[in-house]
């Protein structure tokens, strides 16, 4: 029996789902490098890297979840939810800020686990289940913050005891020449490396591909499908907490609406990075590149002094292009 070979272009995309994102990264870089003097300066790089970093952390976790066959629409609002939890506990209830951060982490993981349990128990699409979580958290963020603080912004956080002991972990920066490089860029790199390790070099990583690509088949060969999915939902919640802490300690304030609307940007980053909407296929590095493209475009448009509304139009075009390529892969490899 002669083995069938996919055509070379398809084979390349299958072996490296991030190929498309890599090409796009180069193009976007070149484009804004030409369009704006500031883009390729040290100061400019610091700005767009910082911008990309928090999206990158989220996109990596969201990509793992999408490869595992699920979505998390509550991922954006989770960043605000965790930051508000810390802000309210520390400024209003006098809870030690380090303890508050720990409590917020536990709370986030619990919400993530709840998302996971609801999805596997009900068998409903995670799109719907996490949409509900999204609305609940959004409502809680606004209502509880207003109820307790009487306003929708946390203030005076930098004056609470022990603030300086925890702030550098999430919000410190390094000055190199004219450029400011935030520690969040380091967190982003760490998350990407950890996720690549997990996905491609460990047994649970193998299960992530399987539960997204064919959950029944995975179960039949003994893969713990449900546990894998729950842990993936906890992963996006964990990332939401990390990004919540980063934005809280960079600015020492947080709004009750923080994170709302960002969830789709994470999904777009993951899709641009090669993740299939149907699960089972994608790349963590690709999702990271997707976030880099987003950060570069977001800041590049500002540097070039264009109307920032072009960003959304650009995102839409990227998404459509990526979805076409991904769909083409899927049809060739797994027709049905």
């Amino acid at each position: 029996m002669a083995a069938h070979r996919p055509p070379p272009a398809l084979a390349a995309l299958i072996a490296r789902p991030e190929t498309g994102a890599l090409i796009a990264t180069g193009l976007v870089m070149a484009f804004f490098g030409l369009a704006s003097q500031a883009f390729f300066t040290v100061a400019g790089a610091g700005v767009w890297l910082e911008s990309a970093s928090t999206y990158g952390i989220m996109a990596v976790a969201v990509a793992l979840l999408m490869i595992g066959g699920e979505f998390d629409l509550s991922a954006g609002v989770m960043t605000g939810f965790t930051a508000l939890t810390v802000g309210v506990l520390a400024t209003h209830f006098g809870v030690d800020i380090r303890l508050a951060a720990g409590l917020a982490l536990i709370l986030a993981l619990a919400v993530g686990a709840l998302n996971g349990f609801l999805v596997i128990r009900t068998g409903l699409p995670s799109f719907i289940v996490t949409l509900a979580t999204f609305f609940v958290l959004q409502g809680v963020d606004l209502a509880v913050t207003k109820l307790i603080l009487g306003q929708v912004t946390v203030q005076g956080l930098s004056k609470v005891p022990n603030y300086d002991s925890i702030q550098p972990i999430f919000g410190s920066q390094l000055q190199l020449g004219q450029g400011h490089f935030y520690v969040s860029v380091l967190w982003w790199a760490l998350c990407t490396v950890a996720a690549v390790w997990l996905l491609n070099h460990t047994r649970p990583g193998n299960w992530v591909y399987a539960v997204g690509g064919a959950p029944l088949a995975a179960r039949q060969v003994g893969v713990p499908v449900r546990a894998t999915k729950v842990v993936l939902f906890m992963g996006t919640a964990l990332a939401g907490w990390l990004v919540g802490m980063i934005s809280l300690f960079r600015t020492s304030t947080v709004q009750a609406t923080t994170g709302v609307g960002q969830e789709f940007i994470y999904i777009i980053c993951a899709v641009v990075g090669g993740c299939l909407l149907t699960g089972g296929f994608g790349s963590v590095v690709g999702a990271s590149l997707g976030a880099l493209i987003y950060g570069m475009t977001f800041q590049g448009i500002t540097f070039a002094q264009w109307d920032t509304n072009w960003l959304m139009a650009f995102l839409g075009v990227m998404l459509l292009g990526a979805v076409f390529v991904n769909h083409w892969i899927r049809l060739r490899v797994a027709p049905t």
Partner: protein, 253 residues
């Protein structure tokens, strides 16, 4: 430890109802080492349901499973796998977008290192897959290609190779030849014979008496969830079996 005086695995009078609808009623089957038991029947006759009970996917609503003559209760497919009852499902239990080697070892991945450094033995797994496949005559240039890009016969063969590699004593094949052409079916029938000759007990499910008769030792014919008969090869001819499948009256006197 020779246990060839008892079947490796047997179902006694098992029944299964899905949400009230009875899919299987009082059916028995035995799987003997070095023999092939064929299960035949029309669409919806309950063939897949029967073997899912043997494989630990479903618990029978009534009846009993015997492993080496002793009652056994599988609480999942993993439990059946652990005692050497391996199943190649109609859908092959494969993830089309995953590379061949990842599919081959799915759920039983090889690792090296300990603790947080414990990682997949990627080169080891690739080498084993390449070697196992070339043994059965499949030469893949790239075990990293998605298994969905292989032909149906190749996928079927990979699935059988996987079951044998992981130490199956009983091999259950759900319609392995259903989607295949004449040549590819022959290849799969060859592996069934080879597995039998290596001493495995094989359950071979098919619609096709022409595939079943040449390799089978026993034949269970299912009809609307009930056993229409359980025959040794000596008791019936290929035309008898074909007639039975067609629903014609058969006189076996």
């Amino acid at each position: 430890m020779s246990q060839s005086d008892v079947p490796i695995i047997a179902a006694r009078q098992v029944s299964k109802a899905y949400a009230g609808a009875v899919a299987l009623r009082d059916v028995s089957i035995e799987v003997w080492a070095g023999q092939v038991s064929c299960v035949l029947g029309d669409n919806g006759a309950g063939k897949s349901t029967l073997i899912k009970i043997l494989a630990g996917v479903h618990r029978p609503t009534a009846g009993q499973l015997l492993l080496d003559g002793r009652p056994v209760d599988f609480d999942g497919p993993r439990a059946a796998l652990e005692v050497g009852v391996a199943t190649v499902y109609q859908d092959l239990a494969m993830v089309p977008l995953m590379p061949v080697w990842r599919n081959f070892f799915l759920g039983r991945e090889l690792t090296v290192g300990r603790g947080p450094a414990r990682r997949l033995n990627r080169s080891g797994m690739r080498a084993i897959v390449r070697q196992q496949l070339s043994q059965i005559g499949i030469e893949l240039r790239d075990v990293d290609q998605p298994i969905g890009t292989l032909s149906g016969g190749e996928r079927q063969s990979v699935a059988i190779a996987r079951a044998i590699h992981f130490g199956a004593r009983a091999l259950i094949l759900d319609e392995p030849t259903a989607a295949l052409g004449v040549k590819q079916s022959e290849v799969v029938l060859k592996y069934i014979r080879r597995a039998r000759d290596e001493g495995l007990g094989v359950v071979f499910i098919t619609h096709n008496p022409n595939h079943a008769y040449p390799v089978g030792d026993h034949f269970l014919v299912l009809n609307h969830g009930q056993a229409q008969g359980y025959y040794a090869k000596a008791e019936l001819s290929l035309p008898d079996l074909a007639a039975m499948m067609a629903g014609d009256p058969v006189d076996l006197s």
